[in-house]
């Protein structure tokens, strides 16, 4: 059985290890009166636009756990992720007027934080597409994966441990759903480089999962 097949076989076991935390979010997005999510966001956004401090705190409480996870995935360290989280919220609060209301506010917010993270990575000149092919090829093949022992936290750590360039492409392509053309434009690389970076990221992750 292929390595991927081993992983898939234990997919259901991975779910038991807390991978689907989003189920809890649905409850938290309703207030005490049972107000629906879109209305709650609209009300909060409007209050935040007016500078309501309490509304800003509430918006922070609702968004920050998920956005912090996004920042961790992109930045690779908690300190950097905290900085990006703060910068992202400053930008978000200042750009609320540009949210037209079409589309989900959470999706719009996610873009804000992703772009903030990318800007920080560019500023640090961290988006270097490193790791030679010889290292990647050395990871090819191997035994059965230990996916049944991998939970969300372990997977997050593995993604955070990827080199910045691979990590960014992997996050944008696999989790955010960007096309390689979009990634190439965003990062200033070629589509071929984007594809190869993604392939290398998958192989590194696979190797690390197998070795756990």
């Amino acid at each position: 059985m292929s390595n991927f097949g081993s992983v898939l076989k234990n997919w259901r076991q991975m779910q038991r290890f807390g991978g689907f935390l989003h189920l809890n979010n649905q409850d938290r997005r309703q207030d005490e009166t049972g107000q629906s999510t879109p209305d709650l966001w609209a009300e909060l956004v409007e209050k935040c636009r007016k500078g309501d401090g309490k509304a800003q705190k509430k918006l922070f409480d609702l968004l920050s756990p998920k956005m912090f996870a996004v920042c961790l995935r992109y930045m690779g360290s908690r300190d950097a992720a905290e900085d990006v989280l703060q910068d992202g919220f400053v930008t978000l609060f200042s750009k609320l007027d540009s949210y037209a209301g079409d589309g989900s506010f959470e999706g719009w917010s996610r873009k804000v934080f992703i772009n903030t993270a990318l800007m920080e990575l560019r500023r640090k000149d961290a988006l270097k597409m490193g790791v030679g092919l010889e290292e990647v090829s050395g990871m090819a093949g191997g035994g059965a994966t230990q996916m049944q022992n991998i939970g969300y936290k372990e997977l997050m750590k593995l993604v955070m441990s990827l080199p910045a360039g691979y990590r960014t492409v992997f996050n944008m392509a696999v989790i955010e759903g960007y096309s390689h053309n979009e990634i190439a434009q965003e990062l200033g690389i070629s589509e071929a480089t984007s594809r190869s970076q993604l392939q290398r990221a998958r192989k590194i992750l696979q190797e690390k999962i197998r070795n756990m």
């Binding site: 912090f68 919220f89 955010e176 998958r202 992750l205």
Partner: protein, 407 residues
């Protein structure tokens, strides 16, 4: 194989896309402090813009009122003074026949002018150009304050409509137009500062004014006009003073270079012994020998380039150089000691230019407020200005102090 890759990606995505992490408590407190500072800075920025616009409107209105005022007293005024170094630059007014006032004359022209009367003072309404300058310049400075938002913003390339989250937002294009402001970031932020201050200049060694000759004799061929003539070689000059509001904004991310502009008001006074000759209907009716008090009011627009030499947490040292363009808005002569004698005033169409350079120091009280001291050397170009400390001592030391608010 491809199916396996797709399944792997889907599995990872399902675990991480909606994941949440516990946020450290200090994140919100730090964020709250930053936003509070940003709100304060935004408020002060709006105050600065409003103050600049109000100052510009006030200057324009003042100049407008001056132009519309009753200038009948100015119609027949001729002010004559003498310089120790007659210039070839047309200060005599020969280049501009419409110039209402002869500020200096060559000695060889005195006799000729004694027989011919110069043109009357042009009404101030004919000199409108300066009215627009402070308003335009200050408005431009205010617009710069509003528009300035940091270095080149980066526009993020958005996923196309077939991207995963593009279909959720439906506003990829709107998002792509968002401009990322580096002013929100702790590093690489461009500052804007508003300063309010005043300066005093040295008045120690002014040049003398040459004494006049028989240049007040009325001509049988021309009607006499009211004149004010200095008969003493020296004047007593008060310390020239200026007050102004300036805006200074960084030109680079590092904050080393910055550009400042604004609006300034300057006041100069001098007292001299002279002759006030009052004429009415072309006939001299009174002549007074008295001390005459002359007050000059200027409105100007300074532009300076600043370079931060040392930027510390509490003290900044910087060098600056620049210039100023000023317009005489009011030049008043008041005859002392004679109750009921009118005071007369005139203006000049020409602008006064000056250049300056100096070293400044700012003491930071906190991130937003500091006190500064800017000693400098300034040189004033005459350009047909009435006699003042600036024409007699064009090179002066200046000491400007004030408060600076940083945003």
């Amino acid at each position: 194989m491809q199916n396996d890759i797709f399944e792997f990606d889907s599995m990872v995505k399902s675990m991480l896309s909606e994941a949440e992490e516990e946020v450290p408590s200090q994140v919100w407190s730090t964020l709250e402090s930053r936003m509070r500072r940003t709100r304060t800075a935004l408020l002060w920025r709006r105050v600065a813009v409003a103050a600049s616009v109000a100052a510009a409107i006030g200057v324009a209105a003042f100049l407008g009122l001056r132009q519309d005022g009753n200038n009948s007293d100015f119609q027949n005024i001729e002010t004559v003074a003498f310089a120790d170094n007659p210039q070839e630059d047309g200060r005599c007014g020969d280049e501009n026949p419409a110039l209402e006032t002869v500020k200096t004359v060559r000695p060889e022209m005195l006799i000729a002018e004694a027989l011919a009367v110069k043109d009357a003072v042009r009404p101030a309404a004919d000199a409108p150009e300066m009215a627009a300058v402070p308003e335009e310049a200050a408005t431009a400075a205010a617009e710069e304050v509003v528009a300035s938002s940091g270095p080149e913003e980066e526009e993020c390339a958005l996923p196309q409509e077939n991207g995963k989250y593009a279909e959720e937002t439906g506003s990829a294009e709107a998002f792509a137009r968002m401009e990322w402001e580096d002013s929100r970031r702790p590093s690489g932020r461009r500052r804007i500062s508003l300063t309010a201050g005043g300066d005093m200049q040295t008045n120690g060694h002014p040049g003398s004014v040459a004494q006049s000759a028989h240049w007040l004799a009325s001509s049988h061929d021309s009607p006499a006009k009211t004149t004010v003539t200095q008969t003493s070689t020296n004047s007593t000059y008060s310390i020239p003073m200026s007050f102004g509001l300036k805006v200074r904004f960084d030109l680079d991310r590092g904050g080393k270079w910055s550009l400042g502009t604004g609006v300034t008001y300057s006041l100069m006074e001098r007292t001299f012994t002279g002759v006030y000759q009052e004429a009415e209907d072309g006939v001299v009716i009174n002549t007074y020998n008295s001390d005459i008090h002359n007050t000059l009011h200027y409105i100007g627009i300074p532009v300076s380039l600043y370079y931060d030499i040392i930027s510390g947490s509490r003290v900044n040292f910087y060098a600056f150089a620049g210039g100023s363009v000023e317009k005489l808005i009011f030049n008043k002569y008041r005859v002392a000691g004679y109750p009921g004698v009118k005071s007369y005033g005139d203006t000049s169409d020409k602008l006064q230019y000056s250049v300056a350079a100096g070293i400044g120091v700012q003491f930071k009280v906190n991130d937003f407020f500091g006190l500064y001291l800017d000693p400098s050397i300034r040189y004033y170009f005459d350009n047909g200005q009435p006699v003042s400390i600036r024409t007699q001592q064009p090179l002066m030391m200046s000491f400007e102090v004030g408060a600076r608010f940083n945003f």
